[in-house]
């Protein structure tokens, strides 16, 4: 048995793994985490994390309003809608 808490991880990821697949994913996760564990050997105490390789090129634009779509466009792919809203089950009592 792996010591990764697969129930907690899948809860955080908003996934409901079928119970017969929990062991499969948990073993797979364990294998991969063990495989990437070699990174721990490297001394990085003086290294800054790299978030974006093109660090110098981030461009900033003016935050102007552009009308590129209509509410109808935005709602066209909604599984369920009510007028100009996405419809979901009741969330407040």
């Amino acid at each position: 048995m792996s010591d990764i808490d697969i129930k907690r991880i899948s809860y955080l990821a908003k996934l409901k793994l079928p119970s017969e697949k929990e062991e499969f994913y948990s073993q797979s996760l364990e294998d991969i985490i063990q495989w990437v564990d070699n990174l721990k050997k490297i001394d990085t105490s003086n290294v800054k994390p790299l978030h974006n390789v093109t660090e110098a090129t981030v461009s900033i634009r003016n935050d102007n309003i552009e009308k590129n779509n209509t509410p109808e466009d935005v709602l066209k792919n909604s599984p369920e809608r009510a007028q100009n809203f996405f419809k979901v089950p009741k969330v407040v009592e």
């Binding site: 990764i4 697969i6 907690r8 991880i9 899948s10 955080l12 990821a13 908003k14 996934l15 409901k16 793994l17 079928p18 994913y25 797979s28 996760l29 294998d31 991969i32 985490i33 495989w35 990437v36 564990d37 070699n38 990174l39 721990k40 490297i42 990085t44 290294v47 800054k48 994390p49 790299l50 978030h51 974006n52 390789v53 093109t54 090129t57 981030v58 461009s59 900033i60 634009r61 590129n68 779509n69 466009d73 935005v74 066209k76 792919n77 909604s78 599984p79 369920e80 996405f86 979901v88 089950p89 969330v91």
Partner: protein, 482 residues
């Protein structure tokens, strides 16, 4: 595989009225419609493209044709195409019709290209064999001459794009590359695959996998075609904050120009440590083919190669788990029923994602979760800097780096079941991706089974022009197309 006409000669035939735009489209559409290798999720028919075909023909008649006018292209089903279903080969997006066009595909349309259809790919571009697609695996058009009945993978994730170009159902196809997804399938299908520098081509409208790595690029029959496509798609875009605003070159101009000074190409010994003699032979052949030119080959060694895959398989899933949080069955995509909001999320996501995507979301969630973030995710980002610095150190000595593209030829569908064995396919392409450098895969020869193998040339940041010039020279010298 038959020799294919490059874009430049197709444009000339269209100009000289040897063929009409309609006839050219039909010729490719006929092969695409058969879809015998499952390389398309969707094929657009001539009726759908009627107005585009007519407009293109009119421009030719008026002598005002655009750079890619009338050229039939495949588009990986990861690019949002306005009004055309875009699925990322996932069940959860199987009903998604974008209301806007991705930046890259818009540039191709602006230049007159006509889309043949949407190419199959690994689900959300996660895979190296195109076997994770919800719509089934793609078959490599190449056959093992010692076992012709075996069905082989085309590589992935842009496997449908590569198979489509190789089978002759489109002139070129747009792919995306996160850790090798353009270069690896190009190599396994005997084609040219270019991953430009990160920041060259806007990610706007491309279904996101790992945003610090994803980059669009072409899969083509020849280097010159890659230059044609790059000219069209490499532009600054304000809608992608990582899009670079550096001055782009004309990648076609002077592509045939002779080297006017000595260049140095580094060959990393650490890449060749564990490869088969057949793979080493690709590097040797390439070296030999360039013997008549003023090129010096230098042995170089990276210090970080052994850590690249681990770094990648922390960073890419971490970014994927965040990017894929948007698929919740509420605003678009497939919704599964549930008695409350949370159930809708859980049911839609669980049923909408396949095994590999689920696995990567779980890895990503784990490495980002409290208690593990510093040990895994932050450590990987630090090692990523070491990998980038390692490349910059080597680039002080050499102008280009030459490596194999893949450690093996195309393998059998269903052969690699272990995820880690699958991840090893990208061992030579992942370091370039982590560093954000441009890389191109070129066909370099055939294996003893008669299957294509490729070499990768890596250039420094935004040096695509020089990279394409060298690649064009290598292509000519290797005469693979003869």
């Amino acid at each position: 595989m038959p020799k294919r006409q490059p874009i430049s000669s197709l444009v000339n035939s269209l100009k000289e009225k040897k063929i009409s735009v309609h006839e050219l489209f039909d010729q490719f559409h006929k092969v695409a419609k058969e879809n015998k290798n499952n390389s398309y999720n969707l094929v657009l028919d001539p009726d759908y493209q009627k107005s585009n075909i007519e407009a293109s023909q009119e421009r030719y008649s008026a002598g005002t044709n655009l750079p890619l006018d009338g050229i039939p292209l495949g588009i990986k089903d990861l690019f949002c195409t306005k009004g055309i279903t875009t699925t990322a080969s996932s069940k959860i997006l199987s009903n998604f019709i974008p209301q806007y066009e991705s930046f890259v595909t818009q540039q191709l349309l602006n230049d007159g290209a006509i889309f043949i259809g949407k190419n199959n790919c690994d689900e959300f571009a996660m895979g190296s064999s195109n076997e994770t697609s919800h719509f089934g695996p793609v078959v490599n058009p190449w056959q093992n001459k010692n076992n012709p009945s075996e069905k082989l993978v085309p590589g992935g994730s842009s496997g449908g794009s590569a198979a489509a170009v190789a089978e002759g159902s489109c002139v070129a196809s747009m792919g995306t590359d996160t850790g090798g997804s353009i270069r690896q399938p190009a190599s396994l299908c005997g084609l040219v695959g270019l991953k430009p520098t990160f920041g060259s081509c806007s990610r706007w409208g491309i279904v996101a996998f790992a945003s610090s790595l994803d980059q669009a690029g072409p899969i083509t029959n020849c280097v010159e075609d890659a230059a044609y496509i790059l000219n069209s798609i490499s532009k600054h875009d304000f809608n992608d904050s990582t899009s670079s605003n550096y001055q782009r070159d004309d990648y076609i101009k002077d592509i045939d120009k002779k080297l006017d000074h000595k260049i140095k190409i580094g060959i990393p010994s650490d890449y060749l440590k564990n490869v088969t003699p057949e793979i080493t032979a690709q590097i040797e052949n390439t070296k030999k083919s360039l013997a008549g030119h003023d090129i010096e080959f230098i042995d170089v060694a990276f210090e970080t190669t052994d850590y690249a895959l681990s770094t990648y398989y922390i960073i890419a899933p971490a970014e994927a788990s965040s990017n894929l949080a948007r698929y919740d069955g509420i605003r678009y995509g497939v919704r599964e029923e549930g008695s409350n909001l949370d159930d809708i999320y859980l049911n839609s996501r669980t049923s909408g994602f396949g095994d590999e995507v689920t696995r990567r979301i779980l890895i990503g969630t784990y490495v980002l979760s409290a208690g593990y973030y510093d040990a895994y995710y932050r450590q990987a980002q630090k090692v990523r800097r070491l990998i980038k610095d390692d490349f910059q150190r080597v680039f002080q000595e050499v102008d280009f780096i030459l490596t194999p593209t893949t450690p093996n030829e195309a393998f059998k569908i269903g052969e690699k079941l272990d995820p880690i064995a699958m991840y090893m396919n990208d061992v030579f392409t992942v370091p370039t991706s982590l560093a954000g450098l441009p890389g191109i895969s070129l066909p370099s020869g055939l294996s003893s089974n008669g299957l294509p193998l490729g070499v990768q040339i890596i250039g420094n940041y935004f040096e695509e022009k020089k990279l394409l010039q060298l690649s064009n020279l290598i292509e000519k010298e290797l005469s693979f197309n003869e």
